[in-house]
Assembly symmetry: C2
Homo-oligomer: 272 residues x 2
């Protein structure tokens, strides 16, 4: 079995305790070569300073989290989302990010019309794609687990994301997060179909039991996902990029971030 | 819009407060014409008595919950599951149930091999199907929401269930539960594909937020599922059977069952 690609730290993994400066220093201290910041952390430091300090630390940026979230209750809300995505594209460009991670967003409040929300996502993506292409920023569509469909992501499966990526073509790829796709009976077929379009590979684990629909992701190796098996599928489809650890977890947020990074590095080597 | 099919009460909806006798009496009292018992409630009363009392009350039996759960850590465990399913088939026959609802079961403890667990499900189904056919009991494969994949159901999508139903043919249908499938981008296509195979139609709702992966289902109308829309898809695919309410919910289990039945009957008319 090949080794996983170089480790990248998604800053949400230590969200509650470290700002971006601490994440950058933490990566340097632990020999983690990549970073994937969330936009609020970047804004806190200031975009120019963030770009400079990440560059000075010699870290690659495996992605910027997050754009998308296009569905909204009215046209003004949809326009606001589009404008926010245009800013996110500029930020991804300034940071030299390998991609902008784009999420579906949930149903607009009060709506039960899932096809309409999915159409809003489609149209929002179409509206911002010219700017992404002009900036050379790859859009990485990230399907989230179906349990997030109502309030976070109407983009629910890899197959659905690939339908969009194929429709839009140039500049649109997918982010493959094992947590969101491991259950999918279509997984092997869809990852093979994703050849040339896998812009990011995210890892964490599915815990048994899982106590929360959003904030109970596990450290790699602590759950039931066959992470090396999914990585092998991605590699067979041509993916040769980083392995980004992204753990949203109340449990890990409460721990010492240095301990979390030490363990993530260990598990990157032993469980990914 | 047509009216939903006749209401059936899945006994799990009032699980904590009523035994089977109380469920039968409750249906009669509220003018609910159908029942779908869980096997533990039947066993408690005794199979022969349960069959007689349901018949005497004039209730139809929209399904028996539940068989399946074939994956296990070793051959002895898989054989135990098969034998239990053979008993479930006899019970479904004795009760005159329209189907035996068959669930996937989760990964065996310690396993990360999802394809192997799915193969165990396939083989278990193959082992019990001759008995089901001989007894005239329809097997209704019920895919559960992907969030239950690790510990309850390796049968995750309607497409996957239909692949099995098509492979096995005679005597194998599917149970369509709106809670488990509403998020699926393939929903319309797969329900259309299910023509002639929809053995059961289950309703409840997806709450926002959802606080638990298993026990926080909503009353119809309280969540975001377009239940009439999914019912219309099922009817367009030829389904003309009952509308079974099945709510696993700590909240509703704590309420007076008569109040739950009153509300379920109201919502059957207004929100299904």
């Amino acid at each position: 079995m090949s080794k996983p690609g170089p480790l990248s730290l998604n800053t949400v993994t230590v969200r509650d305790r470290w700002n971006l400066a601490q994440c950058i220093e933490g990566c340097a201290r632990h020999g983690i070569p990549g970073l994937s910041p969330w936009r609020d952390k970047v804004a806190e430091m200031g975009l120019a300073a963030a770009a400079r300090r990440i560059r000075e630390a010699g870290l690659f940026v495996s992605g910027l989290c997050r754009g998308g979230m296009f569905p909204a209750a009215d046209a003004a809300g949809r326009q606001t989302a589009i404008e926010d995505n245009l800013r996110a594209i500029e930020e991804a460009h300034a940071l030299g990010a390998a991609c902008l991670v784009v999420l579906g967003g949930g149903l607009p409040p009060g709506s039960k019309d899932l096809p309409a929300a999915r159409a809003m996502f489609h149209d929002g993506l179409a509206a911002v794609l010219p700017a992404a292409r002009a900036a050379g920023v790859t859009i990485a569509l990230e399907p989230l687990h179906p349990m997030t469909c109502a309030d976070r992501s109407v983009l629910s499966t890899l197959g659905q994301a690939l339908d969009l990526a194929e429709e839009f073509g140039e500049g649109v790829g997918i982010a493959l997060d094992v947590y969101h796709v491991w259950w999918d009976p279509e997984l092997a077929r869809q990852v093979a179909r994703a050849r040339g379009r896998i812009a990011a590979f995210h890892v964490c684990d599915w815990l048994v039991p899982t106590s929360d629909l959003v904030f109970d992701r596990g450290m790699m190796g602590d759950g039931v996902i066959d992470i090396p098996g999914i990585r092998a599928m991605a590699e067979a489809a041509g993916y040769a990029g980083p392995c980004e650890v992204e753990i949203l977890s109340r449990r890990w947020w409460a721990e010492d971030p240095d301990q979390v990074l030490r363990l993530a590095k260990e598990r990157h080597a032993s469980a990914c």
